[in-house]
Amino acid sequence: MKGYLYDSDRCMACTSCTVVCPVAAATREFLGPKMVGPALSRFRRPALAPDLAADLCSNCKNCDISCPSGVPISTLNMLSKAEYYRHHRHRLRDWVLSHGQLMGNLATPFVPLSNLAIANPISRTMLGAFGFAGRMPLPAYVRKTFRKQFRALRQQSFPQKVVFFPGCYIDFYDPGVGLDFVAVMQANEYEVVVPRGLGCCGTPMVANGFPGAAERAVRRNVRALQEWTDAGVPVVACCTSCSLTLKQEQQELFDVPGAAELAARVYDATEFLLELRDRGKLKTDLKQLSGRYLYHAPCHLRDQGIGRPGFEMLGSLPGLEISDADAGCCGLSGSYGFKGDRYEVAQAVGDALFKKVRASGADAVISECGTCRHQITVATGAKTLHPISVMRRAFE
C-alpha cells in the first residue's frame, strides 16, 4: 500500500482544488475539497467522531488533478467516508448502486423482464422512495453479457496476447464496446484473453463507503490476473474508472500483495493503442472514415497522467473531424448522479458539457467512460460512442 500518499500536511491551502471542484461549484452545501480532505483529516487523526462532510464528494478527482503538491484529496475523502460507515448503517440504495456485479448477475437472466421491472412508472416511484433519482433512468441490462458473448466468439490465435478487463458497465450494459476492442486487437494481430474470476474493480464500493467489499473485489481481481501479470501480458480496460482503480486507487487504499505488479501492466485501451501506434505496431492501411464528432475526456482518464490518448488517436484517423468539448465533469460520477439527493448537483455539474453537446451539432459524442456516455445521452439525447468503436471501423 502506498500509504505515504495520504500525507495531508503537504497541503499548503493554496485553494487550487477549491477552484476546480465541480461539486463545490454546484452546491454550497459542500465545504469544498481543501476543507473536507486535507484540513479536516488533521482533526480526524485523533479519532474524533467520524463525520459525513465528505459524503457530497463524488470522487471525480478533479482536486487531485489540480493539486500542485500531490495530495490525494479524493482518497482522503473516501477514507473518511469509509470510517463513517464503519460506525453507521448504509442506505439500501447505496448498497444496490455499489454492488453492480451482483445486481447484474441477478438481473441479466430475466432480461427484458428485469428492465421492465426497474423502468416502469410504478417501480420508478418505488425506487424514488428508496432514494434513487426518479428522473435519472438506470441503464438497461443486456440479455447476453459481454463475457457470455466473448466465450462464444471465435478468435484467430496470435502469439501476442492482451488481457481485457471488462468491468461491470461493459459486461452488463454495453458489451458492444468490449467486442469492438476484441475486433481492433484481432485486426492488429493480438489475441484477447478474459481470465475467469474477474469482477467489479471496486470503485463503486469505495465511492459508497464499502471499503471491505472493495478490498475483497481487489483481492479477487489481483488473484485472477496474477498468472498473466507474471507473464508480462498487458491488462487493458475500456472503462477509465476501472483502469484508474487497477492502476492507482487500489494501491492508495489497500495493502494487497501483487497490486503494484498488476498496476505496472495496466493500460487504458486508448493509451495501449497509442503506444502501439508510436512503436509502429499498428496496422497503417486504415479505412477512410467520415463524420463530425465531439470528444469528452472523462475525469478518471484525466487523472491518470497520460493526457488524452483517445482524442489523439481519433484525430489521426483518416476523414474524421473531431473537437474536444473541454467542458469539465459530466456530473454522473459512476453512481452519484443516480441518487435522489445528488441528482440536482449532478445535473448542475454537467450543465456546461450538455450545453456544449447541444450546440455542437456533432454526429455523436465520443467518450471512454460508460457512465459519462449514459449521462450525456440522457441529458441531451445525443448519440454516444466509445473511441474503440470508431477505431474498429477504421481497422476492420
Binding site: 493554496c14 505496472a264 497520460i306
Partner: protein, 414 residues
C-alpha cells in the same frame, strides 16, 4: 508517449507562455503539468520590477532593468526579448478576448484587499486604478460574509494614499448565500448568472450614484472577458475597479483559463496530473523525460525541454541540509556554505530572504550551467522561478520573469 519537438515541464505561467511561444513557431509541444500553477489562484497582474534591491520603489521598470546584475533573468533574456515577450503576452490576452492594459515602461500602483498598494505593470482592464486617481470620492462595495475582504480596512489604508480621494463610502451587497464560507469565487460565480448580476446591481444602486468610482473585490465573473464589467458600467454609469485579493483571486483564474485555451488552440497537448521525476540523458543532450505515477513510469521523448517547475514551493527546487538541488535533471543549485546564511532571521523585518534568490544559473540562452558557466545540456532550458539571481517576492517580479523567460525559451527551442 508520441515524440514531439518540445516538452514543457510545468503548467504555471512560465510554462504556459513557453508552450504558447514555441507553438506559435509551429513546434509540436507537449506540456506536462503536476497540478495547476500558482497563476490560477493569484491576482493575474504581471508585476515586472517593483522594488530595487535596497527596497526603493522602481518608477520605470524597463529602464531600471539596465542596472540589474548580469545574472538577473531579465539581463539573461536581454532587452529586446524582454520587450517582445510583453508584446507577445499582450497579444495572447487580446486574442483570448480578455485584453490587458499597461506597459513595462511605467509602474502602476494598484490597491489591495488589505488597503495597501502594490507595484505592477500589466493588468486586466477591470483592475486599472486610473479612475480612482482622478476621483474626488469613491465607493467600496463589500459582500456580506465574504472572507478576507473588509471595506473598513481597505478604506483606512487607501485614505493615506496622497493620489487617492479622501472620501470613501461603503455599500454592502448581500448575496444571500447559505452553506459554507463565502469566498471571491462564490461571488464571481453568482455574478456569472443573470439573476445574480441583476440582484447585485439592484442592491448597489441603493448606495452608488452615476459617475461614482466603485471598488469591488475580484468578482466580476469567472470567464476571461469583460462582460460583467461592461454590464455593471452600463447599468450604473459608474467606473468599476477590481482590487487584488487573497487566493482564490479570480483575476488569475481568468488568465489561467485564457492561456490554457490559447495553447490548446495552437495544438499544444497537455498531460495533466503527471510528475516528471527524471531525465534520460545521452552525451550532453536530454533525449526524454520520465513521469512517475502510482502505477509506473512513462517516457516522453522530445528534441528540446523547458524546465518550468517553479521554486521550493512547487517542488522545482529542493532544499536539504547544507545543499539544494533541482530534482528532475539533478542540476546544481548554489547555496551559501553555512546554513545560517540562507535566511534572514528577522522574518518580519521587511528585508529580503537570501533563499528567495536560490535557483539555477543559466547561460545567455537560458540553459542551466555547471559551476564553470558551461551549459550542462545543450537542449534544456530553464524558466520562471527555477532561476537564480532574482527575488520575486521582494522585488515584485515573479510574473514578469515568468513571461519574459518563458517567451525567450519558447523562441529558442529547436
Amino acid at each position: 508517449m508520441s515524440a514531439c519537438d518540445v516538452v514543457v515541464i510545468g503548467g504555471g505561467l512560465s510554462g504556459l507562455v513557453a508552450a504558447a511561444a514555441a507553438a506559435e513557431r509551429d513546434k509540436k509541444v507537449v506540456l506536462i503539468a503536476k497540478g495547476v500553477g500558482a497563476i490560477a489562484v493569484g491576482s493575474g497582474s504581471i508585476d515586472v520590477l517593483g522594488y530595487e534591491a535596497g527596497g526603493k520603489p522602481v518608477a520605470r521598470p524597463l529602464a531600471e532593468m539596465g542596472k540589474l546584475p548580469s545574472n538577473h533573468p531579465y539581463a539573461r533574456a536581454g532587452k529586446q526579448a524582454t520587450a517582445k515577450a510583453f508584446e507577445f503576452f499582450l497579444d495572447l490576452c487580446e486574442k483570448g478576448g480578455f485584453p490587458y492594459s499597461g506597459s513595462a515602461d511605467v509602474a502602476r500602483w494598484v490597491p489591495t484587499a488589505i488597503g495597501t498598494l502594490k507595484p505592477t505593470c500589466f493588468l486586466p482592464r477591470s483592475m486599472d486604478p486610473a479612475p480612482l486617481e482622478a476621483a474626488k470620492a469613491a465607493v467600496v462595495v463589500g459582500f456580506r460574509g465574504l472572507k478576507d475582504y473588509y471595506p473598513e480596512l481597505i478604506i483606512r489604508g487607501l485614505m493615506q494614499v496622497p493620489a487617492y480621494p479622501k472620501r470613501f463610502r461603503t455599500v454592502i451587497v448581500d448575496p444571500e448565500m447559505a452553506g459554507r464560507d463565502v469566498n471571491a469565487l462564490d461571488i464571481a460565480r453568482w455574478l456569472d448568472t443573470e439573476s445574480g448580476r441583476h440582484a447585485c446591481i439592484e442592491q448597489m444602486l441603493t448606495g452608488i450614484a452615476p459617475g461614482n468610482v466603485v471598488l469591488v473585490p475580484p468578482v466580476l465573473g469567472t470567464v476571461p472577458n469583460y462582460g460583467v464589467l461592461e454590464e455593471f458600467e452600463k447599468a450604473t454609469t459608474c467606473k468599476f475597479i477590481e482590487i487584488t485579493g487573497m487566493p482564490p483571486a479570480i483575476t488569475g483564474l481568468r488568465l489561467y483559463d485564457l492561456l490554457v485555451s490559447e495553447i490548446k488552440k495552437r495544438g499544444v497537448r497537455i498531460v495533466e496530473h503527471a510528475t516528471v521525476t527524471r531525465a534520460v540523458v545521452d552525451n550532453g543532450r536530454c533525449t526524454a523525460v520520465v513521469t512517475h505515477g502510482v502505477d509506473r513510469e512513462r517516457t516522453h521523448p522530445a528534441r528540446s525541454f523547458i524546465l518550468a517547475t517553479g521554486g521550493f514551493y512547487s517542488g522545482g527546487l529542493e532544499a536539504g541540509f547544507g545543499s539544494a538541488r533541482e530534482p528532475v535533471f539533478g542540476l546544481p543549485v548554489k547555496v551559501p556554505e553555512s546554513q545560517s546564511d540562507w535566511s534572514n532571521a528577522f522574518l518580519l523585518s521587511g528585508g529580503a530572504q537570501p533563499f528567495a534568490r536560490f535557483g539555477l544559473d543559466v547561460d545567455a540562452r537560458l540553459r542551466p550551467t555547471d559551476g564553470s558557466g558551461k551549459a550542462v545540456f545543450e537542449n534544456v532550458y530553464a524558466v520562471g522561478r527555477t532561476l537564480s539571481g532574482f527575488d520575486d517576492a521582494f522585488e515584485k517580479s515573479g510574473n514578469g520573469v515568468a513571461v519574459v523567460t518563458g517567451y525567450r525559451a519558447g523562441t529558442l527551442v529547436a
